[in-house]
């Protein structure tokens, strides 16, 4: 046993030629968030507080697709979503369509703690945020020049493709890496377990570039992008539609329970079932194991365990 923590900053077609000015700030961001999480665990904070804290850090970092730095909808706006779950109590909270709340993950936490509901969205979520006195800002706060550029490129690429009135094959991932070498996919997440086996998970995202206004992805859907129970805590990233249909996060726990696989085996098994190039996840088990499998080119990730092991990586072995 012992505590363990894992963090991700998105899985996708991250090219090996990613220039240092794009790679270094993200590695530094992951390192910083990992340290924040480790310190919190060492100080005996509950994993639920730890994952919220770490995801807040990632949301505030403009290099990741969550909070500030969120990708843009087809209208050039920001619609963020987030989700948090406690493995022991199975309590959870989720939000979607958030455009002015600085930390969507904290809003999700409040939905869990302060309402009889699990999931609030759009105007209702925004109104609740104000009632609760959460920090809100103009939407422009979240928009970065890089994302304006990403949207422009995505819309140009789209003009060559089909328009929305034609049936689209969802199975084929259509996110070609953009000219500047950045993957369009991204989400942030954190999973943690303390040395008593308490588990928690949190995920937050701006969604996918050029998404239809009102599009909801896998992140706020319990069992798809986010899930925790007494066995493990999982946070997934990748193409939302594939993660939803594969109920990825739930399946890791189900495979552990029903097939008796270890966390690493279960996580690898589940990712293997998803078409290549579509998903990755981070997970920790109640006994302090960590798994970070992905079937995309890369996944920004980091982890640490109480026995001193720690790692920060982008590419390398796809199924760990």
């Amino acid at each position: 046993m012992g505590w363990a923590i894992s963090v991700h900053g998105g899985a996708g077609d991250i090219p090996l030629s990613l220039p240092p000015e794009k790679r270094l700030p993200r590695e530094a961001g992951l390192r910083r968030c990992l340290d924040v999480g480790i310190a919190a665990l060492k100080a005996h904070n509950h994993p639920l507080d730890v994952v919220e804290l770490v995801v807040r850090e990632l949301e505030n970092n403009p290099h990741f697709n969550a909070g500030k730095g969120s990708v843009l909808t087809t209208s050039g706006t920001v619609e963020m979503e987030a989700c948090i779950m406690d493995g022991k109590t199975m309590k959870c909270g989720a939000v979607s369509g958030v455009s002015t709340v600085v930390n969507a993950i904290s809003l999700a936490r409040l939905v869990m703690d302060k309402t009889p509901h699990i999931y609030l969205a759009f105007d209702g979520a925004e109104a609740f945020a104000r009632e609760q006195g959460l920090e809100t800002v103009e939407m422009s706060h979240f928009i970065t020049p890089e994302n304006i550029e990403r949207l422009k490129q995505a819309q140009e690429a789209d003009r060559v493709q089909l328009d929305y009135t034609q049936p689209i094959q969802k199975e084929v991932p259509k996110d070609a890496a953009l000219a500047d070498g950045d993957s369009q996919i991204g989400t942030v997440g954190c999973v943690a377990v303390d040395n008593e086996g308490n588990l928690a998970t949190a995920t937050s995202t701006g969604g996918i570039v050029n998404k239809m206004v009102g599009r909801i992805g896998d992140t706020p859907i319990i069992g798809a992008g986010t899930y925790a129970n007494h066995l493990c805590a999982v946070s997934a990233t990748g193409r939302g539609e594939a993660i939803i249909r594969g109920t990825i996060a739930r399946d890791v726990a189900a495979v552990m329970e029903f097939k008796g696989l270890s966390l690493k085996e279960a996580a690898a098994y589940v990712i293997d079932q998803v078409p290549r190039g579509n998903a990755g996840l981070v997970a920790v088990s109640s006994t302090g194991e960590v798994a970070m499998p992905f079937n995309t080119t890369g996944m920004f990730r980091a982890c640490a365990t109480e026995d001193g092991y720690s790692e920060i990586a982008i590419w390398d072995s796809p199924t760990k």
């Binding site: 509901h117 034609q166 969802k170 319990i222």
Partner: protein
């Protein structure tokens, strides 16, 4: 074994003192929907078309809590949600926060068929509906007198119950409004209106599909999303099975109920009946819910841990049953 099968539901959690007349009305509607589905199956429509057709019928009828007849938000408005899933390839579509779309399940189908996404909500979903030219009506169309009355009572009950999370067991000071102690989601069962609707079908080709639609929880906060539009919670379909759930939304989400049935079949090798039984008995804890399911082999099953569930099912070999308790 083999052949088509269909099940429909109009909600789990029935007031034990529901007047006979209401029970008969419900059974008539369920029978009518079953007939529509059976007819469609005999005409070789695919599972995905049949579930949409049947749920449209349930949405249009004001009796249950979907489409017209939806439960009301705390503001007295209607916000509807729905999801649909096609077993082969597990394609899915979902919508939430609809206020003018006459048939939410059909919009969910369009999300699945006509967009690169799986789920659209609120203003974005309404905009998509407009662009697709689906039938739109005023929000008032969905509001029934019955539900306006229920909302008023629900608000009164809530002010007596003060905090739904505090278990109100035997001694409850509510007096007249609390004749029977049965509660779901913190409301007396007579006011809860958990009558989400759903349909699951396996067609002659062995393809499964599921669809669920609802107005949600009576007196809910605006923007509240329940289990019905969440794939894996209220709705799920894969090669093996199709499931539609109803009851306490939060409990269904926490237990990812619909996916659970499929997961135990897939990973533990249980058959449909064993799976439904197992999931209802062990996965709900304090939560109250029910579900209907069909397997690719033409079997049909329902399970619930509530006092009743409005349901109907039929199989190709002539089995047909409509029930409340």
């Amino acid at each position: 074994m083999g052949g088509w099968a269909i099940a429909v539901h109009g909600g789990a959690g029935v007031d034990p003192i529901l007047p006979n007349e209401r029970q008969e009305e419900a059974k008539r509607l369920l029978t009518r929907c079953l007939d529509i589905g059976i007819s469609a199956l005999r005409s070789n429509l695919s599972a995905i078309d049949v579930v949409e057709l049947v749920v449209r019928e349930l949405e249009t009828d004001p009796l249950f809590n979907s489409g017209r007849g939806s439960a009301l938000t705390e503001k007295g408005t209607v916000e509807m949600e729905a999801s649909i899933m096609d077993g082969p390839k597990r394609r899915c579509g979902a919508v939430s926060g609809l206020t003018t779309v006459k048939n939410p399940i059909s919009l969910a189908r369009l999300v699945m068929d006509k967009t690169p996404h799986s789920y659209l909500g609120f203003a974005g979903a309404e905009e998509f509906a407009r662009k697709q030219g689906v039938e739109l009506v005023d929000n008032e169309y969905f509001i029934t007198e019955d539900n306006v009355g229920m909302l008023k009572l629900a608000k009164e009950a809530n002010s007596i119950l003060f905090d739904y999370r505090i278990p109100t067991l035997t001694t409850c000071g509510g007096g007249a409004a609390m004749e029977n102690q049965l509660q779901m989601n913190g409301l007396p069962i007579s006011l809860y209106a958990p009558e989400t609707v759903g349909c699951v079908v396996v067609d002659k080709q062995g393809h499964c599909a599921a669809a669920t639609s609802t107005g949600g929880l009576m007196n809910k906060m605006t923007g509240r999303i329940g289990d019905s539009p969440l794939i894996g919670s209220g709705t799920y379909a894969c090669d093996l099975v199709a499931v539609s759930c109803t009851g306490e939304g939060e409990a269904i989400i926490r237990s990812t109920l619909a996916r659970e049935v499929a997961a135990v079949m897939e990973y533990k090798g249980l058959n449909l009946h064993e799976a439904v039984d197992y999931v209802i008995k062990t996965r709900l804890d304090e939560g109250k819910a029910g579900l209907i399911a069909v397997s690719k082999n033409g079997e049909v099953a329902c399970g619930f841990n509530t006092t009743g569930m409005f349901r109907g099912c039929a199989t190709e070999d002539g089995f047909l049953e409509v029930g409340v308790w």
